[in-house]
């Protein structure tokens, strides 16, 4: 077996994941990329979507929003604004939140509320897309 990749996933509130894995597929802003051990130093912003963590035969998918990925000799680090384990959410709740966000957008009174609602719509749309995979 080839070398393992050290992978850290941290959000502002906590360290979501830290450990050795085989491969991580990251949704970069310019396209998805996979990171294996001994990857060249690299840094990319991330678009809202799911990362896939491959470890042996297991694939764990985590939804992340906002942030960036950094690959150094020490491994891969992803700093995400928000990280949600896809196993923890279901499509029903997400589509309900999406409807709510759409309603809020219709009732938004100022730019701030509008931005907030738009950001939520974008997030839940992306979340639903990932869930239907």
């Amino acid at each position: 077996m080839a070398d393992k990749l050290h992978f850290d996933l941290v959000s502002p509130e906590r360290r979501v994941f830290a450990g050795e894995v085989d491969m991580v597929v990251v949704p970069g802003s310019e396209g998805d990329f996979g990171v294996l051990a001994d990857h060249a130093p690299f840094m990319s912003t991330i678009r809202t979507g799911a990362i896939s963590v491959h470890s042996g035969n297991d694939v764990t998918r985590t939804f992340i929003r906002g942030g960036f990925a950094e690959v150094t000799a020490a491994g891969l680090t992803i700093l995400a604004e928000e990280a949600i384990d896809l196993a923890d959410v279901n499509a029903e709740d997400a589509s309900k939140s999406l409807t709510e966000a759409r309603e809020d957008l219709g009732q938004a009174r100022n730019d701030e509320e509008r931005h907030d609602a738009e950001a939520r719509i974008e997030k839940f749309q992306a979340l639903l897309a990932e869930l239907s995979h």
Binding site: P12, R14, M43
Partner: protein, 294 residues
């Protein structure tokens, strides 16, 4: 000497004070654990963020570099973000932060710099408004904030960035309390803007062993996303450490208040018993000498 009734009243009142401080101490201890966990959980993100910034900032040179990173090139107007707690009864916690803030203001003013202050937390505002009311440009209260999270930090970060983009200041410092341990909180000032100076203060540049980074899309776009987030992260971790420190200080203050109340009760009890005894003895003497006289 106070009468027995008076003494009894005082003992009762000190006893109920003791109960209150004891309860406050226990509440603070419970909250401390939560706040400490939150502060510790936020640390990896802040550390990684600083490391990434260190990497990036060494790649960014020249006049095109973002101003949040390299500053305005001037050093005339300083913005001090003074973060304190919103509540008192936590020993010298707020006072220490306010004292450091006043010292910084005095040092900057005597160096001929203009100073602006943004206070976070009610106590900081109250402590500074008397002397430096003209310098306070904005204040944020934490009264309605149930738990400190990214949104409050982003709100403060937005205020700072708006001021910066309007050219209101050149250098920004955050004055808050460092959570060293449960019994020790140290007020500290850290540079926030220009971010490059802040990073140089805290982080060692990682050794890339000659490897060249590639960036996607490119350094400028990444920095554009990263810098505002960096500001928010620094503020968030300052607020979280403050919250933990406040609870630690409150716990220590309430602990010593409880102990003082206990000592006072012991002393009052002694005095109460003595005067009761004296009264009984006096009555006995009166009775005996009355009987002898008959």
């Amino acid at each position: 000497m106070a009468s027995l009734k008076e003494l009894k009243n005082r003992i009762n009142s000190v006893e109920s004070t003791k109960k209150i401080t004891k309860a406050m101490q226990m509440v603070a201890a419970a909250k401390l654990r939560k706040a400490q966990e939150a502060a510790e959980a936020a640390r990896p993100y802040a550390e990684r963020m600083a490391a990434v910034m260190a990497n990036l900032s060494s790649a960014m040179e020249g006049p095109d570099a973002p101003r949040l990173l390299v500053g305005t090139g001037k050093d005339d107007v300083h913005l001090l973000v003074v973060a304190t707690a919103d509540r008192g009864l936590c020993g010298g916690f707020n006072t220490n932060i306010a004292r450091l803030a006043r010292e910084r203001v005095a040092a900057l003013v005597s160096a001929g710099k203009a100073v602006k202050i943004l206070t976070v937390g009610k106590k900081g505002y109250e402590a500074l408004k008397r002397l430096h009311n003209d310098k306070i440009v904005d204040r944020v209260d934490l009264k309605d904030v149930k738990s400190i999270d990214g949104s409050i930090a982003a709100m403060i970060g937005d205020k700072i960035r708006t001021l910066f983009e309007a050219g209101e200041f050149d250098v920004c410092e955050v004055i808050s309390s460092e959570f060293v341990s449960v019994i020790s909180q140290k007020p500290r000032a850290q540079t926030l803007i220009p971010a490059r100076d802040a990073i140089d203060e805290t982080v060692e540049r990682p050794d890339l062993k000659g490897a060249i980074y590639s960036y996607e899309p490119d350094e400028e776009s990444i920095l554009e996303v990263l810098l505002p987030r960096y500001v928010d992260t620094v503020i968030l971790s300052a607020l979280l450490e403050n919250a933990a420190g406040e609870m630690g200080a409150k716990m220590a203050a309430m602990d010593s208040a409880t102990r003082n109340a206990g000592e006072l009760i012991d002393k009052l009890n002694l005095e109460y018993n003595r005067s009761r005894q004296a009264k009984i003895t006096k009555e006995l003497i009166e009775i005996i000498s009355g009987a002898e006289a008959v």
